[in-house]
């Protein structure tokens, strides 16, 4: 072992969590080292070639509002962009990009290489240096010892990774990279509680072997929106995806070969995610469904590989081949890479503080799929937060914990560290109780100031942001002063959009509260073309139109904050509160919630326990006060 250098922060892993962690740490002023098994695989997408979608897309916006990379990089490398749920309310609109996988890697790596304070190094970490519960550094396979005040582990599905295809199985990370075995063993010996999870990916086929005429085209949006608030240029030549379906024949092949599936033969021990079932799972569980959707998604511009979305499988290769060829358009399909299932070690996330610091090892952080999540966006969001907090730890700066009303990232981390997860965790909009506040359109309003205060947002961008805030308020004020009078022309405009006549004069702002009266309609009514930015107009419209609901949500948040602000003393001894139910006490001891709010979200801690805890804390305070009296 030799001394290979000293840093503020070391990031182990360069996936979606790792890159954001390293970037954020550097932005906060930390001298940072990022270690990756393979530097050609920085921010590699081992599964679907897309970023965003409901809830996840909002996370990308949040990352961007906090100065992260994901949004910027995908905006430069997408092959297709679509805004989903446009027919629904503003809270659930979601942007999704199809990525050019190789280009995404290249662009991300390039961005990182530009950072002065970041060292990229290819190495396999095998051991953590921990002394008296404090992290000191890491040791690599080649016996290099790197030292740092903070270490972030973002090793994804590499920990004791095992790939399974039918009855074939071998030690491996995703995409046949080396699995991380020694580090996994090291974590175990350090006392980590580990769970075994499983996920899977479908085969990739050669585009030139697909008959697209038998499929339906799925084009991108004509006027693509973007993830990053800094993006100004759009990509004009978008590439479509294609939709086809499984057939009864496909289902027959699957049923005939179920015994060979690793999932059903008992070979896979890990728990898989329900929201990402394999095709054999779908066929078994929903056996009366005659067909399942299959999306054909290009993996990039300069590659012929196509991702067969909806077809994740761990059946033997020869069965995969047969199954694929029973699908319209894929009769001649040539597999380039087989689908596989992968099992891996994950850290039980209730072992972490909400900063993502490991409770028992000061200065050690974990982020991403290792914490039991799934998805690039979930990983990136955690990476960003771990980077921010690891740098804070190393440089003695402010830490950042987002609460459930501030962002999906807050929901994600709170869920993980408070409830844990018994399957790979994916964000869904329904996990957020305040989703109307956690919108795609207002991520900047929620988080830019925080990012700026932490040094993650440039002065220039912050000023643009402030100008936007001012413009929104000014426009709302302006519209609240303009009175619209009923007229034939106005009522014609209203009739055209299916609204009822206006009878009494009304403020323009009030008129916009009507469901179908958009900002555009107001412009028509006022016979003006507002010079304002699209995003300002959008914001004004949303804030005005949904004000009632937004207010209601805010009131809920205020109620939550009361519980959230009740701090639980760090030195609380749950054993001393014998009236707590046993399960509740065990859970509280494990999670060690920081507030009554967090405590109340732990499953197994019921309202009676919360009442008792409140009484207990109150009693402690009473005691302390009376001690002072003496």
């Amino acid at each position: 072992m030799y001394d290979a250098g000293h840093y503020d922060v070391i990031v182990v892993g360069a996936g979606h969590a790792g890159v954001e962690a390293a970037h954020a740490a550097v932005k906060r002023g930390a001298k940072t080292l990022m270690l990756s098994l393979n530097l050609d695989m920085v921010a590699f997408m081992p599964c679907n070639p897309s970023i965003g979608g409901p809830a996840k897309g909002v996370v990308v916006r949040e990352i961007d509002a906090l100065g992260g990379l994901m949004g910027k990089v995908i905006d430069k490398t997408y092959i297709q962009m679509r805004m989903l749920n446009t027919g629904k309310g503003p809270a659930v609109r979601a942007l999704r990009a199809q990525a050019d996988k190789p280009l995404y890697i290249q662009e991300m790596k390039y961005q990182l290489e530009q950072l002065d304070n970041l060292t990229l190094r290819q190495a396999m970490v095998e051991e953590l240096l921990v002394e008296d519960g404090v992290i000191k550094g890491v040791v690599t396979e080649t016996k290099a010892a790197f030292y740092a005040k903070s270490v972030i582990i973002t090793t994804g599905t590499f920990m004791r990774g095992r790939v399974i295809i039918g009855d074939v199985s071998y030690e491996s990370g995703p995409n046949n990279q080396r699995a991380s075995i020694k580090l996994a063993e090291n974590l175990e010996s350090l006392g980590f509680e580990i769970v075994r999870f499983k996920t899977g990916t479908p085969p990739r086929v050669n585009s030139r072997s697909i008959d697209y005429s038998k499929t339906e085209i799925q084009p991108g949006d004509e006027n693509p929106r973007h993830f990053s608030y800094e993006t100004t240029e759009e990509i004009s030549d978008q590439i479509p995806c294609w939709l086809t379906y499984t057939t009864e024949e496909t289902h027959e092949i699957i049923n005939d070969n179920l015994g060979l599936s690793a999932m059903y033969s008992g070979m896979i021990k890990g728990t898989g995610p329900r929201y990402c079932p394999s095709i054999e799972d779908k066929v078994v569980r929903f056996h009366d469904k005659p067909r399942h959707q299959i999306f054909l998604e290009p993996e990039g511009r300069e590659t012929e590989e196509v991702y067969v979305q909806g077809f994740s499988t761990s059946l033997p290769e020869f069965v995969q081949h047969k199954m694929l060829r029973s699908i319209p358009g894929l009769e001649e399909a040539e597999i380039m890479r087989s689908g596989y299932a992968i099992e891996y070690d994950a850290v039980v996330p209730t072992q972490l503080w909400p900063t993502l610091e490991v409770k028992n090892i000061s200065g050690l952080y974990t982020a991403g799929q290792i914490n039991g999540t799934s998805g690039y966006e979930e990983a990136a969001g955690q990476g960003l937060m771990a980077g921010i907090n690891a740098a804070a730890h190393a440089l003695d700066l402010d830490t950042l914990i987002l609460d459930r009303s501030q962002g999906y990232i807050g929901v994600l981390i709170d869920d993980l560290v408070t409830k844990g997860t018994n399957e790979p965790y994916r964000l869904l909009t329904s996990r957020a109780e305040y989703r109307l506040l956690l919108r795609h359109d207002n991520a900047d309003l929620r988080l830019t100031k925080i990012g700026y205060d932490l040094g993650l947002i440039s002065e220039e961008r912050y000023q643009a942001f402030e100008a936007k805030v001012v413009a929104i308020e000014a426009e709302k004020k302006r519209l609240s002063k303009i009175v619209v009078k009923p007229s034939e022309k106005l009522n014609q405009i209203l009739a055209d959009i299916g609204e009822t006549d206006l009878r009494e004069p009304l403020k323009a702002l009030e008129l916009m509260r009507r469901p179908k009266v958009t900002y555009d309609v107001i412009e028509r009514v006022l016979e003006e073309e507002s010079p304002l930015d699209f995003e300002v107009k959008e914001q004004v419209e949303i804030q005005v139109k949904y004000e009632g609901y937004i207010t209601k949500s805010r009131q809920q948040v205020d109620r939550m904050k009361k519980m959230e602000n009740k701090v639980i003393p760090e030195d609380i001894d749950y054993k001393a509160i014998s009236s707590l139910a046993t399960e509740a006490r065990q859970k509280l001891e494990k999670v060690r919630p920081l507030s009554m709010g967090q405590a109340s979200r732990i499953s197994g801690v019921n309202p009676a326990d919360i009442s008792i805890l409140l009484v207990y804390i109150e009693q402690g305070q009473i005691k302390r006060l009376s001690d002072e009296d003496r």
């Binding site: 679907n48 409901p54 809830a55 989903l84 749920n85 629904k88 309310g89 503003p90 809270a91 659930v92 979601a94 479908p202 995610p273 329900r274 929201y275 990402c276 079932p277 779908k282 569980r285 929903f286 469904k289 399942h292 959707q293 999306f295 979305q309 909806g310 994740s312 869904l428 909009t429 329904s430 996990r431 109780e433 989703r435 109307l436 469901p515 179908k516 949904y546 609901y549 209601k552 949500s553 014998s578 009236s579 707590l580 139910a581 499953s603 019921n606 309202p607 009676a608 919360i610 009442s611 008792i612 009484v615 207990y616 009693q619 009473i622 006060l625 009376s626």
Partner: protein, 459 residues
């Protein structure tokens, strides 16, 4: 800081039960009980004994009630303090009287759940026992579900579970459209379909609430609001009811503002007169708190007594009040029949079609019997079977049902104004959560479970 004063409260449900108990706890419990009680000297009797005797008025020594008194000295008591339980006949008026006497002799009215809290703070830490009484804390702080579940009628629990299932399937349907917009297997939830499903559930809740009405009455009295323009005789009505029925005044802190409530027992129907302080101070609820607030008071009231002046023609304000209350349980009083009738009685009857109208001269004490009869009629001829009396008897349950219904009403409004589904869904989910609080099940994750069991999702 801990005040170890002696606390008292009625520890049985308010109403016309056979037996009611007033409980005292604290170092002065025995002394206070002794002052109210004539019989053995309670301060010297053995612990854990029960004694027959009388409760008397201070000074006059007039007997109020025959009682059985249990004496339990700490620490072998629920609170580990000295505890006295006075068992009396269950009439609301008499039990309230005992409580006020205890307060008169130096006890403090217990906060909701304070006995439990003391049990806890005094190291009496058996959760199983604490939880049974925790209901009180919970009912008031809205934090609880678990214990209430045990008190729940099994039939009701199943019924609510079924309603919740209908709601969550609907919500999951909306959610799947949101989280999996390209999933083509389910049809898009439409406003019409959503409305249909909400209406079904809403109607069921309405029925349940109707059945609950009597249960609630017996538990805590019918909340009754007296309204009318200034000088129509509201305070005379209040005084008439109170004098006739010897009201007990209770101070109930902790609400948004301290509303004085008075309980009176009218022919076996316990009335809880709300906002009587307002009437006493200003003689005018509407004037004092504005139409909006009074509307809210009215919405929360089970019974409204609307007073009109026989001696004045109907005013716009009267008409407005008549309109507000027309769908509520209301009795209209045409007061001051001792004066000339310049009010058009037929017009009043037309405006408030089908509701009882009683003519009174409160000053001459005329018509009060008819009023009391009307009150009793309103609640005992409602066609509610007596076996259903306990169907939903817990005030908390009723409150939750009302809130759930309100959420669904809001959802319906939102549907009418064509709000996006995902916003309407907020109210539907809220209704589902509120119903869940009744049966003690509010686990958020069950929506996600529903999502994945109902639909075949994923890439």
């Amino acid at each position: 800081m801990m005040e170890l004063d002696t606390i008292a409260a009625i520890s049985t449900p308010l109403g016309e039960g056979a037996i009611a108990i007033v409980r005292l706890s604290g170092d002065k419990a025995l002394a206070i009980a002794n002052k109210m009680y004539r019989g053995k000297d309670l301060t010297v009797v053995d612990s854990h004994t029960i004694h027959y005797g009388r409760i008397v008025e201070p000074e006059t020594e007039e007997m109020i009630e025959e009682v059985m008194v249990s004496v339990m000295r700490g620490p072998r008591t629920f609170t580990r303090e000295d505890v006295v339980e006075i068992n009396c006949h269950g009439g609301l008026a008499s039990v309230n009287r005992l409580l006020t006497l205890a307060l008169y002799h130096g006890a403090r009215l217990a906060e909701p759940g304070e006995f439990t809290k003391r049990a806890f703070l005094n190291g009496r830490i058996d959760l199983s026992q604490a939880e049974a009484v925790m209901d009180l804390i919970r009912a008031k702080t809205d934090k609880a579900m678990h214990v209430a579940v045990r008190q729940l009628d099994g039939k009701l629990s199943k019924f609510i579970t079924r309603l919740r299932q209908q709601l969550i399937e609907t919500v999951a349907h909306v959610e799947v459209n949101i989280d999996y917009p390209e999933y083509d297997d389910v049809e898009e939830m439409t406003l019409n379909l959503l409305n249909e499903r909400i209406t079904l559930v809403s109607e069921e809740i309405t029925k349940l609430l109707a059945m609950a009405r009597q249960g609630k009455i017996l538990r805590e009295g019918i909340s009754t609001a007296i309204i009318g323009r200034p000088n129509v005789g509201k305070s005379s009505l209040l005084n008439a009811l109170v004098q006739e029925n010897k009201a007990i005044v209770t101070d109930i802190p902790g609400t948004t503002r301290d509303i004085i409530e008075e309980y009176v027992n009218v022919r076996g129907v316990p009335l809880r007169l709300v906002d009587t302080a307002g009437i006493r101070e200003t003689e005018d609820l509407v004037e004092k708190i504005g139409v909006e607030r009074s509307r809210q008071v009215l919405n929360e009231a089970d019974l409204i007594l609307l007073v009109l002046n026989n001696n004045e023609p109907l005013t716009d304000e009267d008409r407005q009040l008549l309109e507000i209350v027309q769908d509520m349980e209301v009795i209209v009083l045409i007061n001051k029949t001792d004066l000339d009738a310049t009010l058009d009685h037929d017009e009043v009857k037309r405006l408030i079609d089908g509701k009882p109208v009683v003519t009174t001269s409160l000053i001459e004490e005329e018509g009060i019997d008819q009023l009391e009869e009307a009150i009793a009629d309103t609640f005992f001829t409602g066609g509610i079977e007596s076996s259903d009396l306990s169907y939903v008897s817990n005030a908390r349950h009723i409150q939750l049902l009302n809130q759930a219904k309100q959420s669904l009403v809001e959802a319906t409004f939102a549907i009418e104004s064509e709000m996006p589904l995902d916003l309407i869904q907020i109210d539907v989910t809220r209704a589902w959560e509120l119903l869940g609080e009744i049966i003690g099940d509010t686990v958020q994750d069950s929506l996600i479970d529903q999502l994945f069991s109902q639909f075949c999702l994923g890439k």
